[in-house]
Symmetry: C2
Subunit: 676 residues, 2 copies
């Protein structure tokens, strides 16, 4: 169902009901661009730390507009053994609410726009009929302004938007060139008093003239008049003056209050949908959803916090339960069965054995999609497909149970290992961002940081390191890259070899991180200026008071932030061959409070992984063609084979056989590396 500004209010209850009854929700967003600075390959470097990735996306992706939001709700009908779906395709645009509301600027990236255009995207629906929205702070300020205006009016100050306090006490100062105009207005109003008419419309005029009219009439006729600015369809404003007795005046005031309340709700607009999703605490499924989550929070809740840890906390408040189908498909037991995790390919593969196409049916009055024909990249459709992928994979997990189950619900313990882990695009050794805990910290002691002349190509790096076995190259910019060796014991030899090199320079990853940290410390106090001129972050005056919403920046810092990698620090005890990751003491985060839900997690201690990657050249695929990343949308779905524990299905099913599902399957059944 397409939802624009025109029908938004009528649809809203339908949306609320759909969320309310759903077993889970799937979402997807379309943006006006991906990166306003670095090429996509630099934005998503294979050796980024989660902090770096977050910082880059925040800095270079958030000034784009999320202008289409897809929501598909899935309700399981046990009688029919199928899901009933309701798909909504919202068009979103920050139409200024009134003249003092924020005038949002956003960036468009021509390649992204061109790509969407080629997919038949309807830009007129966005720009002409997009649903407006306000974030929490804007909403709070608007409510405050409205309150203030009301209380001033109650005190008889009149229409303060046009009158500054010092002016309203005496007669208005009317500049000479407006004196004729104003006396004509006064005459008209005097005529109104002596006529049968109840109302007179003045001619359209400028804001300054309206101000003078308000001031003059307020002073000359303190009682018996209702003066109001009316806007024509053509956006011309004129003043309407009405004779009113006290009762009529009160009735009109009451109407005005109601109208203001209504307008305020209209201004909050699409954010109300996100609030409803948030309040429902339902599982929210997305595909490669980190950017979707970041944009959603940034646009409809609050500007993103500086620190990754704070972002994780906000995310848990807005979306208490997330699941990323790209991460799920890239994890055992799916990893070995699914060769390409782009949404389109994933959907195809999940329709074939050993998976089963899920049974879904569109609810009455909702569009049903023909998955064989539909275009991807319409947000509603993508959300629908994402939900279907989730169902196929969830149900597949049921086949490991004894007895096997064909339907695994969104609330099943089998799903839990995949909660709140958002796929990290193209990072070689950190598959996901862990929203509810510290992130994986690969040691990267097989990684070298290489700088070289800008003429160098990947082939030059291959040549240089040909003696040290297979390598993986992750470009940083024209003159630097990370090179991962397949064997850590080659690192020292490579370092030694480079000692006398003149054209290039090699550092270990640890040295690189240390130097970077030092630079960061130096710069700590000199950044942050880029949002100061009202950019995307809107213009409303200070005050703030992030109303209602349960997130507060002053939350004390939790003690679970990942240990900062320190050079030469002794490794935390390696568990079960998890030698490439260090992690913080798991006891610290066994219990954590999220909003009002206390989650209990037990670390079972049998975490799995493998040596990071023998898969030579897999990181080449997206970067190779040209140093400038190719089509960003293709990239956005580009897959990168990251290495993880090979599944041992026998082992899993054996283990599973010991437990009935009622007793709860282990949350570590499937090989999502966990660090708590």
């Amino acid at each position: 169902m397409e939802v624009t500004r025109r029908c938004f209010k009528d649809c809203l209850n339908l949306v609320y009901a759909a969320i309310e009854e759903a077993d889970f929700l799937a979402i997807d967003g379309e943006f006006s661009g991906i990166s306003d600075g670095p090429s996509v390959s630099a934005l998503t470097n294979g050796m980024d730390t989660p902090e770096e990735r977050y910082t880059k996306l925040k800095k270079h992706s958030m000034d784009f507009l999320l202008f289409q939001f897809g929501l598909c709700t899935f309700r399981y009908d046990p009688k029919e053994s199928k899901y009933i779906t309701k798909t909504f395709n919202f068009y979103v645009f920050p139409k200024p609410f009134n003249r003092s509301s924020p005038d949002i600027k956003f960036i468009c990236q021509s390649s992204s726009i061109d790509f969407l255009a080629s997919q038949g995207f309807d830009f007129n629906k966005v720009f002409c009929h997009g649903i407006p929205y306000l974030n929490q702070e804007e909403e709070a300020q608007l409510r405050e302004q409205t309150e203030e205006r009301r209380s001033q009016q109650a005190n008889g100050v009149g229409t303060p938007s046009f009158i500054s306090p010092s002016c309203s006490k005496g007669p208005a100062h009317v500049p000479d060139e407006h004196k004729d105009f104003i006396s004509r207005v006064v005459e008209k109003v005097e005529t109104l008093f002596s006529s049968k008419e109840k109302t007179v419309d003045l001619e359209p005029c400028t804001g300054f003239q309206r101000k003078l009219i308000y001031q003059t009439l307020n002073w000359k006729f303190p009682k018996g008049l209702h003066v109001e600015t009316v806007e024509t369809d053509k956006k011309e404003r004129f003043i309407q003056v009405s004779k009113v007795d006290e009762e009529e005046r009160k009735r009109r005031e009451q109407q005005k209050v109601e109208r203001e309340q209504e307008e305020l709700n209209d201004a909050v607009g699409f954010s109300r949908v996100i609030h409803a999703i948030s309040k429902s605490s339902k599982l929210v499924v997305g595909h490669n959803m980190l950017l979707d989550v970041m944009h959603t929070i940034h646009q409809f809740y609050c500007p993103l916090p500086e620190e990754l840890q704070d972002f994780k906390e906000v995310t848990m408040c807005v979306f208490p339960k997330l699941l990323d189908t790209k991460l799920m498909a890239s994890t055992q037991p799916f990893k070995d069965l699914i060769s390409n995790t782009s949404l389109a390919e994933l959907e195809k593969q999940l329709n074939d054995s050993p998976f089963k196409a899920p049974e879904t049916e569109a609810a009455e009055d909702f569009p049903s999609y023909n998955t064989a024909k539909e275009q991807l990249h319409e947000a509603g459709y993508d959300a629908y497909i994402t939900g279907r992928c989730f169902i196929s994979m969830a149900n597949f997990l049921g086949s490991f149970l004894t007895p096997p189950k064909a339907h695994v619900s969104a609330r099943s313990k089998l799903i839990e290992p995949f909660y709140n882990k958002l796929f990290l695009m193209r990072i070689i050794d950190i598959p996901y961002l862990n929203i509810t805990g510290p992130d994986l910290q690969p040691k990267r002691d097989n990684v070298l940081y290489v700088t070289f002349p800008k003429e160098w190509k990947t082939s030059d790096l291959y040549q240089l390191f040909s003696a040290f076995g297979n390598i993986q190259v992750s470009w940083l910019d024209d003159t630097s890259a990370f090179v991962s060796l397949s064997q850590t014991d080659q690192v020292q030899i490579a370092m030694n070899t480079s000692r006398y090199a003149e054209s290039y320079r090699i550092q270990t990853y640890a040295e690189y991180i240390q130097a970077k940290q030092q630079d960061k410390d130096k710069l700590a106090h000199s950044s942050k200026s880029w949002t100061e001129d009202g950019w995307v972050r809107p213009h409303y005056a200070a005050s703030a008071a992030s109303a209602g919403f349960g997130y507060s920046r002053s939350l004390r810092k939790r003690s679970i932030s990942p240990i900062q990698p320190e050079q030469g620090s002794s490794e935390a005890a390696a568990v079960d061959g998890w030698s490439h990751y260090s992690y913080s003491d798991s006891s610290e985060s066994k219990k954590r409070k999220t909003d009002d839900v206390v989650e209990s997690k037990t670390s079972e201690g049998w975490l799995k992984t493998t040596e990071a990657s023998e898969s030579s050249g897999s990181s080449l695929v997206p970067e190779e063609g040209s140093p400038e990343a190719p089509d960003p949308t293709e990239d956005a779905e580009g897959t990168l084979a990251w290495q993880q524990a090979a599944a041992i299905p026998g082992h899993i099913s054996q283990k599973t056989k010991k437990k009935s599902e009622a007793a709860g399957a282990s949350s570590s059944l499937f090989e999502v590396p966990e660090v708590w």
Copy 2:
């Protein structure tokens, strides 16, 4: 006539012919926004210097997109005594030419977008079917790249976009996981050689796989094959392999060269229209056209230069003869007859006495507009209306001649005083930017720079200065403003009064300018970073070589730049009561070379002006309603009464009577202040 990418090539000759035959051209642009930083009232402060205004517009307006360009050509038909018009409405969008072409980012301002939407603007035409374009540098680089690729191919290096030099010498290194794929391809090609088929299409694959295919086939089958990447409608790329003999191969190569040339012209796209306008050297008319000119040069020629003087030089190369109808209408003899110079109002007034609605007729096959009904803010229509306004005003000038003439051509000497003076929005005492000479330099010794707490409103400033007569307030930001006193002799008294003030501070304009210059000198080396990550200014590698186009950044600085105002400097000799302006020695710029036209200007020395402004409060109109500027589009047309010599029509017509038009009317007939 609507022109999109679909019909652009077919229309181009029509456009060329229309420009060729025209007496003059009118243009107009629609942009995706106005200001990405300051509010419009701060962007167009009443006390800006021309340098400041240029710098602000360059910094805060150029990242928006000019996405609709209107061109209306006017050809006078002397037999019918009317103009024949051809109107073109071009939709423009920087669709990336290929994967290595610049991926332009541009900003949208929601208020501007919303305004255009409310006017029925069709965004799909822009984003889906907009005509691409390249600036001079991009075009030169693309030609260079194409040349380079061709010469490499001639040397047998193959398809260098996929092969780096070091790889092409031996067999391709095929990673293990692609070996099967590649050997299947080789089999297919071997089958092709032994079959009757001439061509085989390989399955779609990734860029990396295509690279491997090119390398492998190049090495295995150095002769007899033509290998080409083909793109399907769905943007999937696959490789087509054809058997060819030497003759066929050459034919195909030739075809390819032609196709490349064609593609290159397609990529230059809309810029070709601007080049044609530029080459024609015809008079180009616009309304309030400074931003149109800046955007046009920025998008289709070159990034705007840092310095205003350099901008003037580029402008003269691109548009040797400009005329701004808003400036013309704001100048005598029109000023006293025209109360509102916004385009819509101007058009209305010019249809009434003493003016005459011009006779125009749309050429065959071109749309004719009904001026009583049409919507403004479609660029083609606005250009058409602008041209009509120019004709009315030009013809009106003919009424001063003896005998009066009903038709005054675009080449008439009567028009010359208005050439190359672009209206400066809302600057109180500098009506225009003088493209062909130094700008007016009002002394502003009646102006004070005031800083105060951010709670202050205009009324507080009125109160503060109430003792010193009428004032004009030009807000700079929340805590500072310029206050112009009507009497210069009050300045010292105001300064003295403020000596012990704690909440506010007053400086003279001269002190303010001096402090600002000092700040600027300090910062001189620390700015310019904002374009460094490929922003709007595109990604192509360095090299440059601004081809063909006659503008070079290394032009020696001309000696005509306006004198820098220095505190306490002795005023340049005041001429004929021109006491509020200083100007540089006119002898320096009597002759200046512009492109290949030598213009000769004589300064007649009887320049006119008046005391700067008694018109109290006129600067209030746009800023007053709210500190945030209201609807920017309304502002863009907002008028500000700037004071100038009162016309003495008797004097003018008297003077005129002395000369026949054949002898050439004086270029200083109408009161455009000139400083050379």
